[in-house]
């Protein structure tokens, strides 16, 4: 099990390196059909036309996407054929196809860096006016910006993930008499202390064995202590990692990470990979009560067949605000881009931007898809927890930020035992802020491709 996870991590790292789609999420259970309702999609007659879509999804996610293709066929008559990349390695498959001159008509990309890479190589078709208008009308402008390269918009946001969520087991909270989940960082630390007093041995479970969980911790604290402008600058390494804002974020993080009563021994946290950190929180007679990570914690709970039920035994609260910071959200998402001038491509991309397509994907059972589409109601989602997760992405609007490490060169932000992953692991181990900053800056400087 752990081996497959590591293999997966390696695969993801490899995928990140090419800078294309890497949906490193766990697989989901069953799937099913989808209700399609209303229609704001453009009415074009494309009957008999066909096009191809390359993606990474299989299983329930593939079924959800198929529902979108079916909806499009019903609306226009064009048949889209979805192919999941062989071996789950979309970056390589797509790269080979594009370089070989036979790109798919449409591909799903998980990294803004991949959009810019293909756009700069003149391999992408800019969005037509319908699709562009659809994205502008249905999504916060930050999503358009993420898909804009050199003044042209290339991608339509498809799904989104919410990585600003802290998950907790409700029972230990009730036992400890904590009625309201913490809303501020100070409350968060206090609740953790209360849990510790109430006999929860490792109140906050940290999956420090996987470096990426630590980058997500850092990003969520940083976006709150430093603000959006600094977040954007650090994302593109326009300010050094030795900046005072980084000091502040790491010092804040240290209040938790260096407190053995709250997180157990850091050495143990460093031995715990992400899936184990979720297991330790939600298994029977768990020693932890809180685990931080994105919306995919829910799919890990169901995928690992843990006894906790998402929504009742396992709930989440938004990442706590630090020093009165405004709501901000770190997340990810996939973008659909068009590679060819196939007549069905632009209408399809426009369709993807519509509320109808968004409803089809989030209503599909088991996929765990969320969407940043503004026209969705919580009730459009397959379950209430997903609805809540999705609502947060929409309500945060332009304060949404794409995962920082996913936008850094893979060598720095996406490689086990290297760069940011390793430096934050070292920091978790020794709590030395200055040394961490120095190492982060040195490794950021050494990485190519900012």
């Amino acid at each position: 099990m752990q081996t497959t996870k590591k293999a997966l991590a390696v695969l993801c790292a490899a995928t990140l390196a090419v800078g294309a789609l890497a949906a490193c999420s766990s697989s989901k259970s069953s799937g099913g059909s989808t209700k399609t309702s209303g229609s704001s999609a453009p009415k074009v007659n494309l009957s008999g036309k066909t096009f191809t879509v390359l993606g990474q999804w299989t299983g329930a996610e593939q079924k959800a996407f198929q529902a979108v293709l079916d909806g499009f066929k019903k609306a226009t008559g064009a048949t889209g054929t979805y192919t999941p990349a062989a071996g789950g390695d979309e970056a390589t498959v797509l790269g080979t196809k594009v370089n070989g001159g036979t790109p798919p008509d449409v591909a799903m990309l998980a990294l803004p860096g991949a959009i810019s890479q293909y756009a700069k190589a003149n391999k992408l078709q800019p969005l037509g006016s319908d699709a562009k208008a659809g994205v502008a009308a249905n999504y916060a402008s930050v999503w358009t910006q993420l898909a804009t390269v050199g003044g042209n918009v290339y991608g339509v946001p498809f799904d989104a993930s919410n990585k600003s969520t802290v998950w907790y087991a409700t029972k230990p909270f009730t036992d400890a008499g904590i009625t309201n989940p913490p809303a501020t960082w100070a409350d968060f630390l206090k609740s953790a202390k209360t849990l510790s007093d109430a006999g929860v041995q490792v109140p906050v479970s940290i999956g420090g064995g996987d470096g990426w969980t630590l980058t997500d911790w850092f990003e969520n604290v940083y976006i709150r202590t430093a603000g959006l402008a600094s977040y954007d600058k650090l994302t593109h390494h326009q300010i050094p990692w030795t900046d005072a804002s980084v000091t502040k974020a790491l010092t804040t993080l240290k209040e938790l990470w260096s407190n053995q009563a709250l997180i157990g021994s850091p050495a143990n946290a460093l031995k715990t990979p992400f899936p184990a950190s979720v297991d330790n929180t939600f298994k029977a007679s768990a020693k932890s009560a809180v685990v931080f990570e994105g919306s995919f914690v829910a799919t890990t709970i169901t995928g690992d067949k843990l006894p906790a039920k998402v929504g009742t035994d396992a709930k989440f609260f938004p990442f706590p605000s630090v020093d009165g910071s405004k709501p901000a959200l770190v997340g990810g998402g996939d973008f659909a881009v068009g590679f060819t001038k196939n007549a069905a491509v632009q209408p399809f991309l426009a369709y993807l931007a519509s509320a109808e397509a968004a409803k089809a994907i989030v209503g599909s059972p088991g996929s765990g898809f969320l969407s940043a589409n503004k026209n969705l109601a919580t009730s459009d989602y397959n379950d209430a927890t997903s609805g809540e997760l999705g609502k947060q992405i929409v309500s945060v609007g332009d304060n949404f930020r794409f995962d920082m490490s996913d936008q850094a060169p893979a060598e720095f932000g996406g490689t086990p035992n290297k760069g940011e992953w390793a430096d934050l692991q070292t920091f978790l181990g020794n709590g030395n802020v200055a040394a961490a900053q120095k190492a982060l800056e040195a490794h950021a400087k050494a990485a190519k491709g900012w």
């Binding site: 081996t3 390196a17 050495a267 031995k271």
Partner: protein, 468 residues
């Protein structure tokens, strides 16, 4: 050009290969008269036909990648796996300067120095032993069996054996079991003093009241951290201390399920900590000690005259022994070596046992008749006669250890952030390749080839010598 049926065809490949391997350079292209040129030419022609497909395959899948890797190792890595500019030997420099690859180099050296020697010695011991016991075939079979299991499977097995949690890993289940038979674990390892009270010390030094109590004043010692969902069996609700003669007090878990209650006060539903050792101190010296009763009450009826501090010694809270961190930074490589030994000891034993069976009995008998002890027989007769086989086993192991990958990869992937401490060159190569850092990956590959080549040459030379 009609062929003689039978002879040339039967001879062809054998002659051909001999020519190719040994004599080709000397009798090569000249086609001098004197020898039967036609026969030889025909044989060579035939041999080329027979060897051709294999040679082409070798060239395509071995020679070309080898040469290409060597060339690629001299170039930098561009973005997204593209080839960058020529950098000379800089990638090789990185292999030895980058901390992570250099750690792999060091680990590889440790592996080569330790593993083949240990495995050969253990194999030898088993081989000698197997000669002297009944059911030796069964013994050999059992020891050889791990060779039939893939490294992946043995890796997963050992990853479980080394698991940190004593409830899951065999290695720690045994160490914890042994340790706990000799010293019983403490009563309340998970509890700590409620913050805000007037106590000094920590769980590892014991807690002492800052205040000195006079008899008649109840000593309240609020602890927290006891599991509320599954508290130790036999605990009952705490009661405020009795008011008998002497110094009285209560030690209890100041937290009840669902919260509520007053901090520092014994509330209904809060459990007494039965069996806690309590000491009374006068001027820092222990004057009396007792243990708390079922309700958490303790009393020192004899202490009536002075004021006393109360101490809960650290032995109450000693953290349980959770075994060794087999996959921690220090033990991970030795742990993997043990797994490797488990796999390869049987291999060494079988080869050495075969070698020993070939040693002429009369030499051994003669030595024994001459009055040699068994140890002398082993050292002076068996070992020298076995030397060639020992060398084969050793060199084979060196080569296998140099390219060691799968077992390290599998076991270290279960070690979280500590996995990197087990890295060897081959896992670094794999990682670099996965990250599309092909320049470094190629350089590591070339380094590995360069290190293996001398051992290969040694082995090949030995084989040739034997064939003569």
């Amino acid at each position: 050009m009609t062929q003689q049926p039978g002879e040339p065809i039967a001879d062809g490949p054998a002659v051909g290969s001999a020519v190719l391997v040994a004599d080709a350079p000397t009798t090569g292209s000249d086609g001098r008269a004197g020898k039967p040129p036609r026969e030889l030419g025909q044989a060579r022609w035939l041999s080329i036909i027979f060897l051709g497909p294999a040679l082409i395959l070798l060239a395509v899948i071995v020679l070309y990648p080898l040469v290409y890797s060597a060339v690629r190792s001299l170039f930098d890595d561009g973005p997204a796996g593209t080839t960058g500019g020529f950098v000379g030997l800089r990638n090789y420099g990185s292999v030895f300067t980058d901390p992570s690859t250099f750690r792999a180099v060091k680990n590889n050296i440790i592996w080569i120095l330790v593993a083949p020697t240990v495995i050969t010695i253990v194999g030898l011991i088993f081989a000698v032993l197997s000669e002297r016991i009944r059911w030796s075939s069964a013994f050999k079979l059992v020891l050889f069996m791990p060779m039939a299991i893939s490294f992946l499977a043995s890796g997963v097995t050992f990853e479980l054996i080394y698991s940190d949690q004593p409830s899951r890993g065999l290695a720690n289940a045994v160490t914890v079991g042994i340790r706990d038979t000799f010293s019983s674990p403490s009563l309340y390892p998970e509890t700590h003093i409620r913050t805000g009270g007037s106590f000094t010390g920590s769980a590892s030094s014991g807690y002492t009241t800052t205040k000195a109590y006079s008899p008649g004043t109840p000593v309240l010692i609020p602890m927290v951290g006891l599991s509320l969902t599954s508290p130790p069996k036999g605990l009952v609700s705490a009661q405020p201390p009795s008011t008998g003669p002497g110094l009285n007090g209560v030690v209890w878990n100041d937290f009840r399920r669902g919260g509520g209650g007053t901090v520092g006060k014994v509330d209904p539903g809060e459990l007494g900590l039965k069996g806690v050792h309590v000491q009374a101190l006068q001027d820092g010296k222990v004057v009396a000690s007792t243990t708390a009763d079922a309700k958490g009450d303790f009393s020192f009826p004899g202490l009536t005259s002075a004021t006393y501090q109360v101490k809960l010694p650290a032995s109450n809270f000693a953290p349980p022994f959770n075994g060794l961190s087999w996959l921690g930074p220090n033990l991970i490589t030795p742990s993997i070596m043990i797994a490797y030994l488990w796999v390869y000891a049987g291999f060494a034993m079988v080869l050495l046992a075969a070698g020993m069976a070939a040693i002429p009995r009369d030499a051994l008998e003669a030595a024994r008749i001459d009055g040699a002890t068994e140890w002398q027989v082993f050292r002076r007769v068996t070992a020298p006669l076995l030397a060639p086989v020992l060398l084969v086993v050793f060199v084979t192991l060196v080569i296998n250890v140099l390219k060691i990958f799968d077992i390290v990869f599998v076991i270290s992937s279960g070690a979280g952030a500590n996995g990197k401490y087990a890295d060897v060159l081959a896992t670094q190569l794999f990682n670099a390749y996965g990250q599309q850092r092909y320049g470094i990956a190629s350089a590591i590959g070339v380094v590995l080839v360069l290190v293996v080549v001398p051992f290969m040459a040694l082995n090949i030379r030995r084989f040739r010598r034997e064939q003569r």
